[in-house]
């Protein structure tokens, strides 16, 4: 059976612009995905990596803008929700296949728990974030979508994580994010992990991260790592050095 492939023109796009780094790869990757050719899309990504593209650049310059674009194309009625889900799930599959390439020789003896709050089903962004922390030498515990509050608290307790990252896509899950943060601060009073939040709502409203009680937010995964390490350093110094959460 022939499949209907949406026709995408440059004028329809909002996030993949001609001047951006690796925009051509991003466009080709997205078009393969929209043509239901995920193996071909994977091949494009893997060939680019073999030719020297870093995973960091693949994530930031290709996968992230493609995901934003896919969301925009759905929003404007150019593709169906089925296309959107297909592309998202296929990209998650690609990310999983790249996992062995993520690890760094130098580990930092730092740990992060990453999760979506209860009710939130969009996990790709926070998964991408967790991968970035892995690449930068952190150990991460990625709990995925729709994680109950007490599950997050318990995981921090068990792992002694220095950082918690909470991802959210829909504004109406912000109240649950706030409740998670309150629960973590209450459970680890005086010995709390630093708390980062990220996702669409925080990109659309200035300083919203403060309103939900987080320590920081960042526009992308690379900046989030920098923010987390600065905060952990500050926290360590404030505690007189040699600080390790949970010890």
């Amino acid at each position: 059976m022939a499949t209907a492939v949406p026709t995408i023109t440059q004028a329809m796009l909002r996030f993949i612009s001609g001047g951006a780094a690796h925009a051509d790869l991003a466009l080709r990757y997205m078009k393969r995905m929209l043509a239901h050719e995920r193996q071909e899309a994977f091949k494009l990504a893997e060939e680019a990596l073999d030719e020297g593209l870093t995973i960091r650049d693949l994530y930031l310059d290709v996968l992230q803008p493609v995901q934003y674009e896919i969301g925009w194309l759905w929003q404007t009625g150019k593709i169906s929700v089925g296309h959107e889900h297909y592309c998202t799930n296929a990209t998650q599959l690609l990310m999983a296949s790249l996992y062995p390439r993520l690890f760094r020789a130098t580990q930092k003896d730092l740990r992060m728990v990453a999760a979506c709050a209860e009710g939130e089903l969009h996990e790709l962004g926070v998964r991408m974030l967790a991968d970035f922390f892995e690449m930068e030498g952190w150990d991460t515990d990625f709990l995925g979508a729709n994680t109950p509050r007490d599950g997050i608290v318990r995981m921090i307790e068990e792992t002694g994580a220095e950082a918690l990252a909470i991802g959210v896509s829909m504004h109406y899950h912000l109240s649950e994010v706030e409740r998670v943060i309150e629960a973590v601060r209450k459970a680890f009073r005086g010995d709390e992990p630093i708390i980062l939040v990220g996702g669409y709502p925080f990109r659309t409203v200035d300083n919203l991260w403060e309103n939900v009680g987080a320590d920081a937010s960042a526009p992308d995964a690379a900046s989030a790592v920098e923010a987390a390490e600065a905060l952990v350093t500050r926290q360590t110094e404030a505690k007189g050095g040699a600080y390790k959460h949970g010890q």
Partner: protein
Amino acid sequence: MGSELARVSEDTLKSFDEVCAKAEAAVVAECLAADSPEEKMGPEAEGMLRNGMQFVTKMLRASMQFGAGGILADQVQWGKTRLPEYGAGVEMVRRNLERYAEALRTHMPAEMFEELEPYLTQLISGDWSE
């Protein structure tokens, strides 16, 4: 990113939670009676309107809880591009938001409605230009 507004009190949020379902139902009934939405939205119009108004309630609540008018500005932008895909034109959407505001005014204590009115005003008077 939209203007910020005063965070709404817990008591007002509670009052809003108690009456929002009535306001949503009023909007759906009035829209069905006056606008013939099924002509453009199809036979599922009633369910789509109900889901749409529930979505408005959830977004409005998030905005009020965190004093974040920017959420509403973003939703207006989203609505302008997405809702016509469901056959819900901007004019009908704005009329429904006005109906929603009136229903909340009817069902909430006046002083509490006054607290959340700036949010409704921002939502209704946002940049809905197509």
